[in-house]
């Protein structure tokens, strides 16, 4: 119980995004698929792990030059310059892609990385294409 609390506390301390600057995003050149989704209460992110059979171009898409730890991307849930409806549809589209196992492409920020709950810098997804 106590070690769990310490782990959670460490995660909270480690949580945070790099300072925000004006957004710029690039669409990934290849396609991938979503292996799993992580949503943790208290964290303003949705973490997306992609499948190992995703294309190399998709896996290597890293316009912001993040250090890239595990095979994941983050979606920021608390974004001031995105409308509530746009945010809702982004999450809906991601969930749809996951549930129907569709090919996807991500719009990834080219100027910012996420450090939510990890020492790695993770890539940030700002948009999605769900393909046939």
């Amino acid at each position: 119980m106590r070690s769990s609390a310490i782990r959670i506390a460490s995660l909270v301390v480690g949580f945070g995004f790099c300072s925000a600057v004006s957004a710029g995003s690039l669409l990934s050149p290849g396609v991938g698929r979503i292996a799993s989704l992580f949503a943790i209460s208290g964290y303003d992110i949705l973490r997306i792990q992609y499948t190992t059979d995703s294309s190399t171009e998709f896996k290597n898409h890293n316009p912001a030059g993040c250090t890239v730890g595990p095979d994941v991307f983050d979606v920021q849930l608390d974004v001031a310059d995105r409308s509530a409806e746009e945010q809702r549809q982004l999450l809906n589209a991601i969930n749809l892609a996951f549930m129907t196992n569709r090919n996807i492409k991500f719009f990834v920020r080219d100027d910012l990385c996420s450090t939510a709950g990890t020492s790695s810098q993770l890539r940030i997804v700002t948009g999605v294409q769900v393909l046939n």
Partner: protein, 140 residues
């Protein structure tokens, strides 16, 4: 029995759905949604389309004579670029519930691979001069 029928008729009159299309809009020929895009700060949900039958009618269906009809989705096995329609995510003419329901039906059509007919505005294009979808019929 008579009373029951009368009540049913009254109920129908009270709750009957209008079949009239939105003013300033027209239904498209059958098409299939093959891609959905949500991009940051675009303010639209973009629908990539494929013709469901070998006719060009859905592709040239453009009641508002918008200029931008195609976008590059790079869909393997399909014509590139792909024709598209936009759904405006904040639409002052539509209630939040109505807007949300429209988007849910679009997702349902995409997930189940159904043909659809889109209600397309004939008096309005998006700011990027694309066609505006304002309603959907999910077909077979």
């Amino acid at each position: 029995m008579k009373l029951l029928v009368a009540a049913a008729v009254l109920l129908f009159l009270e709750t009957g759905l209008s079949t009239a299309a939105l003013a300033g809009s027209a239904w498209s020929p059958p098409i299939r949604v093959v891609a959905i895009q949500v991009a940051e700060n675009s303010g639209v949900l973009r629908l990539g389309m494929r013709r469901s039958i070998e006719l060009t009618a859905p592709f040239i269906f453009n009641p508002a004579s918008c200029v931008s009809l195609e976008v590059d989705f790079n869909l393997t096995g399909f014509d590139v670029p792909t024709h598209y329609f936009d759904v405006q995510l904040s639409d002052s003419e539509r209630s939040v519930a109505e807007q949300r329901q429209l988007l849910i039906e679009i997702y349902a059509a995409f997930a189940t691979g159904r043909n659809v007919s889109l209600l397309v505005r004939d008096d309005l294009c998006t700011t990027s001069n694309g066609r505006v979808a304002a309603g959907i019929q999910i077909l077979n």
